[in-house]
Amino acid sequence: MIPVSRETTFLEATLEAVREEMARDDRVFAIGEDSGVRGGSFPIFKGIAQEFGDHRLIGTPICEGATTNTALGAAMTGMRPIVGLHFADFMLRAMDEIGDQVARARYTFGGQCDVPMVIRAYDGVVNSAATQHSGAYEAIFAHFPGLKVVMPSTPADAKGLLKTAIRDDNPVIFLEHKRLLRTRGPVPDGEHLTPFGQAAVRRSGADVSIVGYGIMMAQALAAAERLATDGIDAEVIDLRTLVPLDEETVLASVARTGRLVVTHESWRRSGFGAEVAAIVAEKGFADLRAPIMRVAGEDVPVPFSPVLEQRVIPNAEGIVAAAHSACAHG
């Protein structure tokens, strides 16, 4: 086990990462709207200006596109910006900048520049945020060559992955689920970096592999507990980074269990689960003893009323049902 000295919230863990990296490298700065005294609605940059000076935390007008391309220009010329775009839905205002510019600047210019920048946003369903504040778009970003995509599920990973993201010479999309921000968990003391492309096996099991990331990890672990009482031994794998993807850990798990359930809160259709399913179908087909199951958000915008909202997001029951279905085969 990792030596643990204390518990923090997910949000505090990311703040530690930002503070440590800013102290370590004076090319790192944060930029985004509503990044003033409080450090944002979800205060992802709280105290940064007081500790490092106003110039290290640039509060911008509401202009996600211009902010993103400005960060790109700074990254192309030697700085290491962290962009805060708030709700992931607002990232769609910067899709030309993220997709056409940030993702492909290095390639377009033949490697003449690095693009060391992190774009942070909080995504997912929380508290009746309704159709325009509940989105999660990791599948879109994972589709673009040139971007890395990170979806932490624990405070320790939030810190370790964010530090790795800030040190990466590529653009990293760092997506933090809103319901995770205030969750607590152990964070290792000292320098703590979590490498990209290494999934974490959260629970070992022999009968079915449940693969997911972010907010669905808690649901997957709860499902695994329930499955255990039904005599099904589930393995739970947290991908942590979608790009780069740790295919080996997933394939090795399926080779042992023969069954795969993929889960994410975002929409099912063309979701990242489809990519995981396709990889396993291509490379691990002989190991499969049952159809691959997906447990994901319904393909509808996320509605406001709590009863409607709950209807469209996946949960532990869904994972349990999918695992039972998979285990009914072979």
Binding site: M79, T108, F109, G110
Partner: protein
């Protein structure tokens, strides 16, 4: 005004404009002949704003450009042979053949690339200016863009953002009258793009974009202001493209013949040549400069023709840092 520009400097400016003109006339032909792939947007007729602006910059200053970017790239000092290789899609191009005409660049001279998305270069220039401010390098950044970009949100967002942050960026609008086929009078309900400066609390200037000496004068003054105040400015250069929007467009079916003729008479190379003649420079000297430009381009073409194509496998490299294949 420009009366103080020496004859020597004027001849230098002539060479720089002729280099761009010859480069673009040559690649037009090579594109038609199938030697250069893709589609080209030439800036023939607009050379004065590229040269006059870049002449006021230092080597460390940054430039971003548009789909019509050959002139800006060469004016900033990009390597001619490498740029020609990029047009040919050869391995020796600055981008290794990944970008071509619409993405010409040379990071060695802080030319951060032509950009094929209208308005996208503005933000990158704002970022380069922010970076200069952070590093206290004293450099400024210039974003070239067309008047068509002023209809885009990116223009307004970036002028406002740059002004609110206070960064040394110079926005240079080359108003050539047409956004592809759309005349500016129908797309913009103010007389000048420069008029937007008041809305963003920054200085604005209008310059005759076909008079390289006027451009140089204005840009010398404005870049001084941007550099010393660390704040943005907007300059609109009124100009005209002799050709259509791209290689496949004559530009004649949506622009009146009289209008084209009137602007051809205001050709920036013609005008500077006339100024030189008035100042007593003989035609032989002027012709010699034009011949020098032709020789440089001939050399670049010869070099690019003989240069190796990229290894097809290199298409898979440089997606991420560390993918250089070395």
């Amino acid at each position: 005004m420009s009366h103080h520009t020496s004859i020597e400097r004027m001849l230098e400016l002539l060479l720089k404009m002729a280099r761009i003109r010859t480069f673009e006339e040559t690649i037009e032909r090579l594109n038609r002949e199938g030697r250069i792939p893709g589609f080209l947007h030439t800036s023939i007729g607009q050379e004065a704003s590229a040269v006059g602006t870049c002449e006021a910059l230092t080597e460390g200053d940054y430039v971003t450009s548009t789909h019509r970017g050959h002139g800006h790239c060469l004016a900033k000092g990009a390597d001619l042979r490498a740029t020609m290789c990029e047009l040919y899609g050869k391995a020796g191009g600055q981008n290794g053949g990944r970008g071509g005409s619409m993405h010409v660049s040379d990071f060695g001279v802080n030319m951060l690339g032509a950009n094929a998305i209208v308005g996208a270069g503005l933000g990158i220039a704002v970022g380069a200016a922010l970076s200069s401010k952070f590093r206290e390098s004293g450099n400024i950044a210039v974003a070239f863009f067309g008047e068509g970009a002023s209809s885009n949100g990116a223009f307004h967002e970036n002028l406002n953002l740059a002004s609110s942050m206070g960064v040394p960026v110079l926005f240079v609008c080359e108003n050539n009258g047409y956004a592809h086929e759309a005349p500016v009078q129908k797309m913009l309900n103010v007389p000048n793009v420069a008029d937007f400066h008041t809305g963003y609390g920054i200085p604005g200037e209008i310059v005759d974009g076909n008079d390289v000496l006027a451009v140089l004068d204005v840009m010398t003054e404005v870049t001084d202001v941007v550099r010393s105040t660390g704040r943005p400015a907007l300059v609109e250069a009124k100009t005209y493209r002799h050709r259509g929007h791209h290689g496949g467009d004559s530009g004649r079916h949506y622009r009146p013949a009289e209008e084209i003729e009137a602007w051809l008479a205001k050709d920036p190379i013609l005008r500077l040549s006339r100024r030189l003649a008035e100042a007593g420079v003989d035609q032989g000297t002027i012709d010699g400069v034009l011949a020098d430009a032709q020789a440089e381009i001939d050399d670049a073409v010869e070099f690019a023709e003989a240069a190796p194509l990229p290894d097809p496998e290199s298409a898979l490299l440089e997606v991420y840092a560390g993918d250089s294949g070395e």
